[in-house]
């Protein structure tokens, strides 16, 4: 395997999914199943022949589940956006740190050269 191949394998290695990913998938699946089962279709005649109260309960439960699903989605979106912002922050700090270290290295180099020059003169 060439050097580039090794670098690519290293750069493209699998990375961990965000924390809580599995829980969010399971919650989404459960939510979608619940929405499907409570808002299932019935024939027009059957709807009006059923007692109103259970029908209203189903409607309210459906709205609550959908609202809950939307809220969940919003929370999840905020979390993933937050993670992305965090990574941006760390990237910025890495870049700043590396350039500071470049400056320090250059200063060290000067000091060493100056010391050498002084020794040569002596």
């Amino acid at each position: 395997m060439t050097h580039t191949d090794e670098d690519l394998k290293s750069a493209l290695r699998r990375c961990e999914a965000p924390e809580g990913f599995t829980d969010r998938v399971l919650a989404r699946v459960a939510n979608e199943q619940a929405v499907e089962s409570t808002s299932g279709r019935e024939s027009g005649l059957n709807i009006f022949s059923r007692p109103v109260l259970p029908w209203a309960t189903v409607a309210v439960a459906s709205v609550a589940l959908i609202a809950g699903g939307i809220h969940y989605r919003n929370v999840q979106r905020e979390r993933t956006q937050g993670e992305a912002a965090k990574q941006q922050l760390m990237l910025a700090l890495r870049i700043a740190s590396s350039k500071l270290q470049l400056a320090k290295a250059k200063v060290n180099d000067i000091n060493v050269n100056q010391t050498k020059n002084r020794q040569v003169k002596e």
Partner: protein
């Protein structure tokens, strides 16, 4: 043999009046048109606070970042990589340096290297004798980086982060090896 010319300014350069709120100068943004790759980070105070909520106290690197950014008011980074040397001119870099002029700003490091073409300037901002910001302008043959960090910070803490992120700490020995070896 090319003579190496290195000099350093340690005395504070008096500042002249300029806009107080320096984030990213317009001249820096123009350079993105020439770059083949650009890294842009713009985070004001509220965004910084929000992003740092997601830093984990259990991860040593993230914990250090959280401590560093706790009181910052902004981080602005533009880093450009170019296809070839000479994509930007020294006049453009001089213009950038000239824009870092506002009360309280002092240039504390200015390194020019003819040998490898790396030029680095570091500016500190002081308010009531305390560090209130740092600007770094690093002009390398194929890379130009502008960093502006607003707010109180420990410079050594920032420099030390390099070791935490897996970027080797630059010391004299490693720099010498780099200069002898794979220097481009």
């Amino acid at each position: 043999m090319r003579k190496t010319l290195l000099w350093i300014l340690l005395a504070a350069t008096p500042a002249t009046a300029r806009a107080q709120d320096l984030k990213i100068p317009a001249d820096v943004e123009k350079l993105s048109a020439k770059a083949k790759e650009t890294v842009e980070v713009t985070m004001d105070g509220p965004m910084l606070k929000w992003a740092s909520k997601f830093l984990s106290a259990e991860d040593p690197e993230e914990k250090k970042c959280a401590e560093l950014v706790a009181n910052l008011r902004g981080i602005y980074v533009r880093s450009f990589e170019f296809d070839k040397e000479g994509a930007y001119t020294s006049a453009e870099v001089d213009a950038l340096r000239a824009q870092v002029r506002a009360p309280g700003w002092s240039r504390v490091v200015g390194v020019r290297s003819e040998r490898d073409g790396d030029n680095v300037d570091v500016f500190f901002k002081l308010e009531n004798d305390k560090m209130a910001g740092i600007i770094i302008i690093a002009a390398e043959p194929r890379e130009l980086t502008f960093v502006n960090i607003v707010g109180p910070l420990e410079v050594d803490q920032l420099a030390d982060l390099g070791g935490e992120f897996g970027i080797p700490k630059l010391n004299h020995e490693s720099l010498s090896k780099a200069q002898k070896g794979e220097h481009k």
